[in-house]
Symmetry: C2
Subunit: 312 residues, 2 copies
């Protein structure tokens, strides 16, 4: 029996710091309604979808807590979960997670998967946290490591009504290990949210490649791991910083099946043929037959190339 | 001081089974001369550059040995090594390797790296050997596993006059682990040879994607591992089978810097800026800082996704 899952990438335009959370949630509900009316069964929202991308600033301790969610859903985000149940559509959403563990505050850049019943189906905490804890000379300020610990949940894969779903956030999508780990854990679909600046002051000569470098690793990740990918950007001029769009749905062939054309709130939908996964595996990627896990040791043994090189 | 290395991808047209090895070597020498005259310092030839892609047939035992090299260089291939020394240009070449080990014949799909002094600088044996040992119903005959053992040398990286060179062959380029292993072993440049049929009878609906699936993983592999890649196809109608071309030089940005347009003997050259590697690492890929090798365990623990899936 053919298996299908209609996916929606719900891009948002900027979420300014001055916006209220309630206003932002109403925008997300409108996007979810649009996705559902186009037949989507599962939608993805951006990373940090509820707030501005605040790691672009050094903030005072007193300013920080208001930017995190202490509970999901909370009173202000509950309408989104209610909409999911009302519309019968699931979603994944990126948010700043603030959690008490053993009496200590911990903060993660997280994504939550919610089923069409409005209940949580899974949670992911961003594994590849880029940037720094303090501003670094000559680079665009990017303080994700100031505001978030690296994820501590690994690369989990969740059952979603018979389809296996993995989650990833922004910088995770640049690393081939993200897709491979999710593939080996059984994922068929990966949902990604991101915030990607158009300009980095450390690399003005590479600025024209930002969209290419957005799509390239996702297309290769989809192809090399026979995955469907739905990826949603927060786009446009957010609190003075230009973010790229390019939200998309990528097939296991690596082809972009659908993509956003604006830098604003926009939904792209594709009816994903899940059987294409097996068809693609049959051509080149019979993993169990051809991969050589015993020969990939360096991947888990060292983080980067050796400082000193010795020819064998 | 800026570092440069001028690379050449020496694509060949078909090498028919009826061709003599001496004729083929003369073609390769002509390509090497063309590469050297364009300023190239290092050239790459295709996989199995000296013969037809014979794994497309079931051959009789008595027919096989003539298709392998028992020594490199041998009397017939020596002119290529002499040309390298005369021209002051190194090269890598794919060939069928037949070697006696402990009184037993072993066969590998190999690539040899030769310095501008005409001496061997390194050898690689294809790690990801695709296909089967017997024809399989419904698929294009592809018997690499009949004729070659999987490589037993891992993913070595060789010093080439101060630049670190990795080698890979054909199917290797589809697997992200190939590039990652070479990156982590210190490679700056990867030389790839390939033979890729245009049509696979098991996947007629994907035939139009063969060139996309050639370039996509190399572009992503270059970008995600900050590598230069030079890749050479054996192209054109070889003994009745159409092979794609698309030989190319890919930058660490993932951009194709130069590519072949024909299905014939053709040289593409690019003066590679080796400093671009560090520039690309500075933007997204500070490996030592951001990779999480302790969390990639599945990559070395299992070959493929689990048969039975359990949600966490």
């Amino acid at each position: 029996m053919a298996r299908w899952l209609t996916l929606a990438a719900c891009q948002t335009g900027p979420v300014q710091r001055a916006s209220t959370r309630a206003h932002t949630v109403a925008r997300l509900v409108a996007l979810l309604e649009q996705a559902a009316s186009a037949g989507a069964e599962l939608a993805v929202f951006p990373e940090l979808a509820l707030t501005t991308f605040f790691p672009r600033w050094v903030l005072q301790p007193a300013e920080i807590d208001a930017l995190y969610e202490a509970e999901m859903p909370g009173p202000v985000t509950q309408p989104l979960y209610d909409a999911a149940r009302r519309l019968g559509i699931g979603f994944a959403i990126g948010f700043a997670e603030r959690v008490m563990v053993d009496g200590k505050v911990r903060r993660f850049n997280s994504m939550e998967l919610v089923g069409p019943d409005g209940q949580r189906s899974g949670r992911y905490r961003k594994m590849h946290v880029p940037g720094s804890t303090e501003p670094e000379a000559g680079t665009t300020v990017h303080l994700e490591r100031r505001y978030f610990e690296p994820g501590d949940l690994g690369f989990p894969v969740f059952d979603y009504g018979g389809t296996r779903i993995g989650l990833a956030l922004c910088n995770d999508r640049r690393w081939p290990e993200t897709y491979r780990m999710l593939c080996l854990a059984g994922a068929e679909v990966v949902l990604i949210g991101y915030n990607t600046p158009q300009m980095l002051s450390e690399a003005p000569a590479l600025a024209h490649l930002r969209m290419f470098h957005n799509h390239l690793p996702m297309q290769a990740g989809a192809y090399q791991n026979t995955l469907w990918i739905a990826a949603a950007a927060k786009a446009g001029l957010e609190d003075g910083q230009a973010l790229i769009g390019g939200s998309c749905i990528v097939a296991p062939t690596g082809e972009i099946a659908a993509q956003a054309l604006s830098l604003d709130d926009e939904v792209v939908v594709h009816r994903a043929d899940l059987d294409l996964i097996a068809a693609c595996q049959a051509v080149n990627f019979d993993f169990a037959r051809y991969r050589r896990p015993n020969d990939y040791g360096l991947i888990v043994e060292r983080a980067g190339p050796p400082a000193a090189f010795t020819s064998p």
